[in-house]
Amino acid sequence: MKKTIATVIAAILVFSLFAGCNSKTPSNETSVSGTTSGGKTLSGSVSTDGSTSMEKVIGALGEAFTAENSGVNFTYNPTGSGSGITAVSEGRCDIGLSSRALKDEEKATGLKETVLAYDGICVIVNTGNTVANLTLDQIAKIYTGEIKNWSELGGTDGEIVLIGREAGSGTRDGFEAITKTEDLCQYRQELTSTGDVITTVSQNPGAIGYASLASVKNTVKALSVGGVAASEATVKDGTYAIQRPFVLVTKEGKTLSEAAQAFFDYITSAEASEIITAAGAVSVK
């Protein structure tokens, strides 16, 4: 009798194990649910997927949107620009997020881009570095290995250590495209996140790296490019040279769900530009 009970319990445990699998949700998804009830009775879900650089911006927008539309479930999956574009083309999410403009081959597959905001890419050096300003041309020469020592730029003697991002990163694509150094950069280190780049630069007096404007804090020094300091104002008026778009990717011809369309309209409206600015990016509006 005891054995029978034990077996039954074992069987139940085994089956509950499998049952548990079904209801499991991906742990890296940030789910934001609204709390206050708005005027409209919109319901459904909006899923976004893509660029990790856009996390702050899209998170803030999602929160603001669900605060007004409590029936909508908003999710953001930080996978990277490439994965986000793939996800939207495979129909796994409503809106893809990319921190680079779409490639022609991607547009050819029926994807449509809408620029949400701009992000400035800061060129950063160690706080102990005496160099404060570089031209775009000098930056290109540094990254292609033509200029190898800080003394050539008026700094203290020491080899320049080039820190960059991994191949395929939106920040790297953006930086190399703007400085026209595609496939030419002689990196000393290729790191996989903005945080790693900032940490490494803050540790090495000879290092130079790049990171998005929103994530640069005072642990490192942001250089002026061609005499223009990187700031929201200079990115917005276009005087700061190294900047890239934050793009919303949708499928051409495919109508979004009611909730997704409302979200899309909301974040591209003038109303949302304040939230985008608060999140550290520069709104197009």
Partner: protein
């Protein structure tokens, strides 16, 4: 009595069935991964060409004219693992002999729990400490422009493989019959002579298995290495920034597309074959040990 037996039989079969299913889950996972890796890894190798892929010296996956040669990754993985062995095996081996044979019980408890703790530290923590302490340290000590290098990766890996080497070796050494050692001591050998001439040879297949296990751990580690090695696809050199097979897959996977992504699967396939080879070696060693 008879009815009870009659009742028991289907129950037994049921339980057996459940266990069988659970066992098959593991086998199924291995099969699934193998089949998936082979299927997704072959196309890129076909497109690039096996020789060009394995022996190409240049990896430029996102260039306008991309080249996919993984020789730098293979050599880095081999050199890095060999370097980690060179540092880790002597330390691990002597620690194991000391712990199994010579250490007083109190010391043994403390050291063994420390080793256990070392095994439990997540690899990202090794990487973080390496990044913040080891990399700047190497830069200052060796006076090189940047410390992220093969050397940093070797040191981190050497520390990471210590627990597997020590634990398995200790188990093997402790399994040596006490009579062997008693006989050696009775014949006038000193304790140290006994440990190295009697106990170690008797446990040699277990110790070899420990070393192979360490090789497996070192070659498969990605996270910690990624944080200290610099990840540039250079040919391996001690103070150069290098990229391992594991980090080649991990660092580019997030943003990859097209042939680049397929090539990453091919790298994973090569890595998988390496690990299979190591596992086969491990099985062979253990079997030989059992046969004796």
């Amino acid at each position: 009595m008879q009815t009870k037996n009659h009742k028991k039989k289907p129950l037994e079969t049921l339980v057996h069935g459940i266990f069988l299913v659970l066992g098959l889950v593991t086998v199924g996972c291995v099969l699934l991964i193998t089949v998936y890796l082979v299927i997704s890894g072959i196309p890129a190798i076909r497109e690039i060409g096996l020789v060009k892929f394995l022996f190409g010296k240049e990896w430029r996956s996102t260039a306008s004219e991309p080249s996919f040669g993984i020789l730098p990754f293979i050599l880095t993985s081999v050199y890095g693992t060999a370097g980690a062995m060179l540092l880790g095996v002597p330390v691990g081996f002597f620690t194991a002999v000391y712990l199994a044979k010579a250490a007083p019980p109190k010391v043994k408890t403390v050291v063994e729990s420390a080793v256990g703790l070392l095994a439990g530290i997540p690899s990202v923590v090794y990487g973080l400490v390496g990044m913040l302490v080891l990399v700047p340290g190497i830069r200052k000590i060796f006076n090189v422009p940047d410390g992220a290098s093969l050397l940093a990766a070797i040191i981190v890996l050497a520390v990471m493989i210590l627990p597997s080497i020590i634990k398995v070796s200790v188990t093997a050494l402790e399994a040596v019959p006490k009579e062997y050692e008693d006989a050696s001591l009775a014949l006038g050998a000193t304790p140290v002579e006994t440990y190295f001439r009697v106990s170690v040879p008797a446990a040699k297949s277990g110790i070899a298995a420990a070393v192979v296990l360490g090789v497996g751990r070192a070659i498969g580690e990605a996270m910690a290495v990624m944080m200290v090695a610099g990840n540039v696809a250079n040919m391996p050199s001690l103070f150069q920034s290098v990229r391992f097979l594991t980090t080649a897959v991990a660092s580019e996977m997030a943003y990859s597309s097209g042939l680049q992504r397929q090539a990453l699967f091919s790298i994973a396939l090569v890595l998988f074959l390496f690990i299979m080879l190591i596992n086969a070696a491990l099985n062979l060693l253990l079997k030989r040990g059992n046969a004796k």
